[in-house]
């Protein structure tokens, strides 16, 4: 089996951080990097590490730097611009989908509301890696 895909999440909501960790940490095809609680923390983490993630999941609504702002900064930085980015949010409307894809997001999804939903979301993400 090939290497686990390293996944980095930026999410400010404690419950959602827990769901993400609890539902996904047992999967053998992925490796969860420490969760950042907003865009700023995520960028700090990336700047401090030598091992970049294979995929980044950005919550849209976060303090300091929200999903789209973080996405733009990532895509504007050559070191990070090739990392696959997925934007997720409680409600995804056309405008969020449009803006995200314009900025270079690979996927835009609604936050899952079940264990199965989380698994499906990660399956979909891995298909794009």
């Amino acid at each position: 089996m090939h290497l686990r895909k390293k996944i980095l999440l930026a999410e400010d909501d404690q419950d959602d951080q827990d769901f993400f960790h609890d539902f996904l940490h047992e999967r053998e095809d992925i490796f969860l990097l420490p969760i950042a609680s907003n865009g700023e923390e995520l960028l700090d983490y990336l700047a401090s590490t030598t091992e970049l993630p294979d995929a980044i999941i950005l919550d849209q609504n976060m303090p300091k730097l929200n999903g789209l702002q973080t996405l733009q900064l990532l895509k504007d930085t050559s070191r990070y611009s090739n990392i696959t980015v997925m934007v997720y949010s409680t409600s995804t409307d056309d405008s969020l989908i449009k803006r995200s894809s314009l900025l270079g997001a690979t996927l835009v999804v609604s936050k899952p509301s079940s264990y199965k939903g989380y698994q499906r979301m990660i399956d979909e993400l891995i298909r794009h890696l």
């Binding site: 419950d15 769901f19 409680t90 409600s91 409307d93 936050k111 509301s113 079940s114 264990y115």
Partner: protein, 445 residues
């Protein structure tokens, strides 16, 4: 005989001489009249001496000028008013005697005197027109001056027709004010519409967050604590989950209804056959479950907003399946006719500008008296326990159809199925023009 001839030649020559003289005199008279040397002649006519003057014509013109609704003024080279009609005097609200002999410039505001002087100078050599303001002690009068230099009592005079523009200006100003108010109101309306849409959008988003948590934790509770929970607790939990699900539907429907208010319609050719095919795939499970039969006729390609029209058909089919009779397999017929005009009972015409789409079912139907009710927001004819739904679906349908400049109607009898009629224009040309005209109005602000 010869003598007679001679005589007649002589008399004819005399007559000729007399006529020549008369002709000469007549020409003299005409010249005199034309140059203004005389203003009356006496003619020895068949009824004795008669006095002919130019009064007839001259008088008419004097009366004409007096009665004109425009002011008339004549100025000499120095700009002194030699003559004016009473209309001009009353325009200035002064007696004629005080106007005649006064320099025209006395009625011109200080700041305009120079430009008026220049205008007068120019007018001596060619006809001019200009809008200016006159004033008297307490009055500012916008006027149009039409200036012509003409001979007047053997001297040249500058003749001016003065048109009072007060009413025109006032009307114009009122029109501008009204226009500005209208634009302002339009702008406010746009803002409030936008606010409302923002509000609905934000509210729906923020409402979804806690709701999702309720769903997540109910799921966890149910799955992970199955053994601990009493049967009653599990039943309560199911109720929480059902309510959450219904709330989710409500929020999403409110959101999509509010999004319809945004003026962002993008029209494209949409093949309704494709839309229906897609929907039948989506409904495959429930169609099988209910053993439903769906008969789809040949549907047209119309200009529409694809997502919105899809939603309309989805609502129609979903309703027809939902309100089926428990003991009867649903049969849903979807058919279409082109019509000549925007009228449900309009005449059919192949390639007509409108298409009438019928969605007919054999379900429970409803009393025709509720036909308008069912399109109202949050209106439901059945309790939510017997038929789920937000009560927004048909409101969304109606709004979408109206956004497409179409009409929606329903015919039903309780217990005998329902038939929805959607009347849609084939082309959105009119709608597009309307939208661009609106944009124009906003753009011009």
């Amino acid at each position: 005989m010869e003598e007679q001839l001679t005589k007649s030649i002589e008399s004819l020559e005399a007559e000729l001489e007399e006529l020549r003289h008369q002709l000469y005199e007549a020409q003299e008279t005409i010249d005199a009249i034309r140059t203004g040397q005389i203003d009356a002649i006496v003619v020895n006519g068949s009824n004795g001496h008669e006095l002919y003057t130019l009064k007839t014509a001259d008088h008419s013109y004097r009366v004409f000028i007096e009665k004109m609704t425009e002011g008339v003024v004549s100025l000499n080279h120095e700009g002194i008013i030699l003559y004016c009609n009473s209309q001009f005097a009353s325009l200035l609200n002064m007696p004629i005697s005080r106007v005649i002999g006064t320099p025209f410039q006395d009625f011109v505001p200080e700041e305009n005197k120079r430009s008026i002087r220049r205008l007068f100078e120019e007018s001596w050599s060619k006809d001019c027109k200009e809008e200016v303001t006159l004033h008297t002690c307490d009055l500012e009068i916008p006027v149009l001056l039409s200036l012509t230099a003409l001979e007047f009592n053997e001297n040249m005079a500058l003749n001016i027709i003065v048109t009072d523009l007060t009413i025109q200006k006032r009307t114009q100003q009122q029109l501008e004010t009204t226009n500005a108010q209208l634009a302002e109101m339009n702008h406010e309306l746009e803002l409030s519409n936008h606010d409302l849409q923002q509000f609905a959008s934000v509210a729906s988003h923020d409402l979804q967050e806690p709701l999702r948590k309720i769903q997540m934790f109910s799921n966890l509770l149910k799955n992970q604590n199955k053994e601990i929970l009493s049967e009653e607790s599990q039943r309560f939990l199911d109720k929480i989950m059902n309510s959450s699900k219904r709330m989710k539907t409500l929020i999403l429907d409110v959101l999509s209804y509010s999004r319809l208010s945004a003026n962002n319609n993008v029209f494209e050719p949409v093949n309704l056959n494709d839309i229906t095919k897609e929907l039948l795939d989506d409904f495959e499970l429930i169609i099988q479950e209910k053993k439903a039969e769906i008969r789809v006729g040949d549907l047209p390609v119309i200009e529409a907003n694809r997502g919105q029209i899809r939603q309309v058909f989805q609502n129609m089919v979903s309703n027809a399946l939902k309100f089926s009779k428990p003991d009867l397999a649903p049969v849903i017929e979807i058919s279409s006719t082109y019509l000549v005009e925007k009228f449900f009972d309009g005449l059919p015409q192949p390639d007509g500008p409108y298409c009438l789409i019928r969605i007919k079912d054999n379900g429970i139907g409803f009393d025709q008296k509720y036909q308008n009710h069912i399109f109202a927001l949050f209106e439901r004819l059945h309790s939510k326990d017997s038929y789920e739904g937000s009560g927004i679906g048909l409101s969304i349908t109606k709004k979408i159809i109206e956004k497409h400049d179409g009409l929606v109607h329903v015919r039903s009898t309780s217990g005998e199925g329902a038939e929805f009629l959607l009347l849609l224009p084939v082309s959105q040309e009119k709608n597009k023009q309307h939208a661009s005209a609106q944009e124009d109005l906003i753009g011009r602000r």
